[in-house]
Symmetry: C2
Subunit: 253 residues, 2 copies
């Protein structure tokens, strides 16, 4: 069982300030915890789970010698951020820093310009994993990758896709990127435009691409809507998936 202080220490990790101090974050859910156990056991600081969770995972626990603690449903609820906690929760070490290895002469990847919604951030990371973008970039105003809701929505992809927080200008210069794509009004349709390797800038949910980054976009594109449609825009994550899918189709499918 956990003491009051131990519970508090975990709850602290719901806040970015404490995460950055401890260099630890919380991963919830059986799926994510299973992936950690199987693929990255050394990242786990401690795994908390119900008796039934651990009973079916004895082999992995023995193989990896992961520190773990059995908790009851009430305790799990206290340390979880979910309304209905998911049998397991892990306190995990921050990922180590790695260089952003992208070859922009042949590959494309994303730059997230102030994506603020954790659900959008998490599903975009999952998308990046699916379409083979192990490194993506994000503005410093974008959602924290270690935010529990981002981790949750990424469904494990956060362990495979690295998010590098940099200014757009810095990324372009450091990698000598020549083609900077971005969704802008009155631009060529992605379906007609000939897409190429480069960086794809995804704008903020409400405001789109920031004023300071707009001049850096030199390959404007748009997702055409059906005639007479009423929506002004698509959800940012949905638009990202459509754009990335079309890049994948033209360049790699």
């Amino acid at each position: 069982m956990l003491s009051k202080n131990q519970i508090k220490e975990i709850q602290f990790l719901h806040h970015k300030k404490h995460r950055d101090l401890e260099k630890n974050f919380i991963a919830e859910g059986m799926k994510f915890c299973d992936e950690l156990l199987k693929s990255h056991p050394v990242l786990i600081k401690r795994l908390y789970g119900t008796e039934s969770f651990f009973s079916t995972r004895q082999q992995w626990l023995q193989q990896s010698a992961v520190p773990h603690t059995v908790v009851d449903d009430d305790t799990l609820k206290k340390i979880s951020l979910l309304d209905t906690p998911n049998e397991a929760l892990a306190v995990v070490h921050y990922f180590s820093e790695v260089p952003a290895a992208v070859d922009f002469s042949t590959q494309f990847t994303l730059y997230l310009d102030d994506i603020r919604d954790p659900g959008n951030m998490g599903t975009i990371i999952r998308l990046a994993d699916w379409f083979g973008m192990p490194h993506i970039f994000a503005s410093r105003g974008s959602c924290d990758i270690y935010n529990p809701k981002v981790i949750q929505a990424s469904m494990g992809a956060a362990m495979r896709v690295r998010v590098h927080y940099r200014d757009l200008e810095q990324v372009i210069h450091a990698h000598g990127i020549t083609r900077v794509f971005g969704a802008l009004l009155n631009s060529p349709s992605i379906y007609q435009k000939s897409l190429a390797a480069g960086l794809i800038v995804i704008g903020n949910e409400g405001k789109g691409i920031s004023a300071s980054n707009l001049p850096l976009v030199n390959e404007p594109l748009s997702i055409p809507a059906a005639a007479g449609n009423g929506s002004e825009s698509l959800n940012a994550a949905m638009a990202t998936s459509i754009i990335v899918s079309e890049f994948f189709r033209q360049l790699r499918a």
Copy 2:
């Protein structure tokens, strides 16, 4: 100001049972309320908003004679489901029933097979609006269209896209649909497959297309992943956007 009973009556509408009884639902947020005011004022049973919200909308209120009540921030917080309410909230009449007008010989649309997440449901409705699908279908186990979170995520599109709750078999028979598409493992890539008018079945977030509906899918397709990717799947709404975008590109772009 609102009495305790009036507040309670609005809060009741957070629950499906009461919504169905009253045939009223709650629409939150300035964007949605503005669209209602401009395009569908007769649907509004009563509009609640802060003083500052109403002060800039006097002309519309006079034109449409919409019943409205000024509320303070505390009251708005009580009747809202949002952590940070958005200046306005409307109690709205259920949309009237309309026939599902889809010409399946030339058009494509969606069948949602137990989409359960309100955020997914709402963004899919927004997507349908964008790509010109004013009628979509959903299984009876799918999320309620009048769920406040669906309405919120649809960003107004729920007023333009009608969701018809029917069994898949019933839809196929009633409309004489010959092509039933669905994302299944080991199926032809959407990028290579020649897509056509018909119905696109979107599976549940965790379980995919239900066992009873699987035999009805006669045009299996898949979204190919990059080699060596680690994710088992994409978020249901993201997958939907990729599939619909590809249908749009091949058939209408």
